[in-house]
């Protein structure tokens, strides 16, 4: 596995973090949804990887994609995006994602963004490689997986990523945590985790009895929250605690975490 990472992350000044609810100026030039889009200018390094990820290891959305790539044992190049300089809001990046958010992924001619669309592509395109990230089976089984994929995206992440923002990212950008906001958000998160507790009492992983994208998508935000006082919400629910332990112990996830340390 070759990854190319240039430089280390310096403490940035207060900037808007790439968060799924924050929007940036769209590109008025190219449509990058075409899967035969113009490729962006190549970085100055020479690489054999046909898969390129534009993002940073600190970003939860980028981590989601990296986790899927490692689970599948795929070679890729990680091309850092200078968030501090606002590179994600400018060309050439906005030709990759007109919403100006990391990550974007290039696989040969194909350009994708939205981390959960990227991971689904990886799971489908490379279904024969590495870990299977979807429940094996017919339409009905796939449908259950989609339910829990949507649960992560619509029920868990909006709340959990705001808590991570309050407790961790705000501090990095010189802002202060709002304890009232954290309390309110945690009040909502526990209701979601109670549902997870019930679900995991009936199913080994969220969608079925195997590890799928529905579990994987949770890893980056859970990873951050487990390093804060919010971890008690997970630890106090036995099935949830067991599930967190299982998914964070996966070797592929350890590789993603390692990238942050470089």
């Amino acid at each position: 596995m070759r990854t190319i990472l240039q430089g280390s992350l310096l403490p940035p000044p207060p900037i808007k973090l790439s968060h799924s609810s924050l929007l940036f100026s769209p590109s008025h030039s190219h449509s990058n949804l075409k899967f035969t889009s113009k490729s962006s200018p190549s970085p100055p390094t020479i690489t054999m990887a046909s898969i390129k990820v534009h993002g940073v290891p600190m970003s939860t959305a980028t981590m989601r994609v990296l986790a899927a790539l490692y689970e599948k044992d795929l070679d890729f190049e990680l091309i850092p995006v200078d968030m501090r300089a606002g590179a994600h809001k400018q060309e050439p990046f906005v030709s990759l994602n007109p919403f100006g958010q990391i990550p974007a992924l290039q696989d040969g001619d194909l350009t994708l963004f939205e981390s959960r669309a990227i991971t689904e592509y990886i799971a489908d395109e490379y279904s024969e490689k590495g870990e299977k990230l979807m429940c094996p089976g017919c339409n009905k089984v796939k449908a259950i997986t989609k339910v829990w994929l949507n649960v992560e995206g619509q029920q868990f992440d909006p709340i959990a990523s705001k808590i991570a923002f309050e407790r961790i990212f705000k501090g990095m950008f010189g802002m202060t945590t709002d304890p009232a906001a954290v309390q309110e958000l945690e009040g909502k998160l526990v209701r979601v985790l109670d549902i997870y507790e019930a679900r995991l009492s009936k199913s080994e992983f969220l969608a079925c009895d195997c590890f799928t994208l529905a579990d994987l998508h949770h890893l980056p935000v859970i990873h951050y929250l487990m390093g804060t006082d919010s971890k008690t919400l997970f630890e106090s629910r036995p099935k949830v605690a067991e599930w967190v332990k299982k998914i964070t112990a996966r070797p592929a996830w350890a590789k993603v975490v390692d990238l942050q340390k470089q």
């Binding site: 799924s20 609810s21 929007l23 940036f24 100026s25 769209p26 590109s27 008025h28 030039s29 449509s31 949804l33 075409k34 899967f35 007109p98 919403f99 194909l110 994708l112 963004f113 939205e114 959960r116 669309a117 990227i118 689904e120 592509y121 489908d124 395109e125 339409n139 009905k140 796939k142 449908a143 259950i144 989609k146 339910v147 994929l149 949507n150 649960v151 995206g153 619509q154 029920q155 979601v192 549902i195 019930a198 679900r199």
Partner: protein, 213 residues
């Protein structure tokens, strides 16, 4: 005897997303009303269908689902050869499918949060005797405008969001757009020529008209 049942409320955007899909596919179904004003969605037996206490829930034979966008995807795949094809023309092409997936994620994470808040502030709040918060409307309209600028650029190159054909990506937008067209937010759509055309196209479809009845 319909094997397909939708447990929801015909006025909610999420229930309509599912009804639209069923209509596009000419599928028989039974709509079982969930009385939201009585809090039926927050109690049993509904919670056994969706522990998150939100409409709609769905049943096809012994398969039980929730989350409207999971339900629509199930219907689109399972009944692929019936009625309107809501997947890309060549759905086995993984790259093409991925482009549609991007559009579905964008609708769910970029478009809908702002659009739903605008519908809530300007329409649904009145039902509950609450007043519109104009500051929120301004803030959410600014966000929605940025998304629609991206859509405008996209629709200059393609007829629909995922390509040349109507897909789930477009469909997912329809219910909340139908509501917003009855508010001042309509201007955000009408002042962008390609977006305006796209809105007209998708809302005039027979299935789109049917769910308003």
């Amino acid at each position: 005897m319909a094997s397909i049942k939708v447990f929801g409320h015909a006025t909610t955007t999420s229930t309509r997303r599912v009804l639209l899909t069923l209509q596009e596919k000419n599928l028989d179904y039974e709509l079982v009303n969930v009385e939201l004003k009585d809090g039926e969605h927050k109690k049993e037996p509904f919670l056994s269908r969706n522990p998150f206490g939100q409409v709609p829930a769905f049943e096809d034979g012994d398969l039980k689902l929730f989350e409207s966008r999971a339900i629509t995807q199930y219907i689109a795949h399972r009944y692929k050869d019936q009625g309107t094809n809501l997947l890309p023309a060549d759905s086995k092409n993984i790259a093409r499918y991925a482009i549609m997936s991007i559009g579905m994620e964008v609708e769910a994470h970029q478009f809908d949060p702002a659009a739903s808040k605008l519908a809530w502030e300007q329409l649904f709040k009145h039902i509950y005797g609450l007043t519109t918060d104009k500051a929120v409307v301004a803030e959410e309209e600014a966000k929605l405008a940025k998304v629609l600028d991206v859509y405008e650029a996209r629709l200059k190159e393609f007829k629909y969001l995922a390509g040349e054909t109507f897909t789930l990506t477009d469909l997912h937008h329809i219910p909340v757009i139908q509501y917003l067209l009855g508010t001042p937010t309509k201007k955000l759509f009408t002042e962008r020529p390609r977006v305006n055309e796209w809105v007209a196209e998708i809302t005039k479809r027979p299935a789109s008209q049917k769910i308003l009845q």
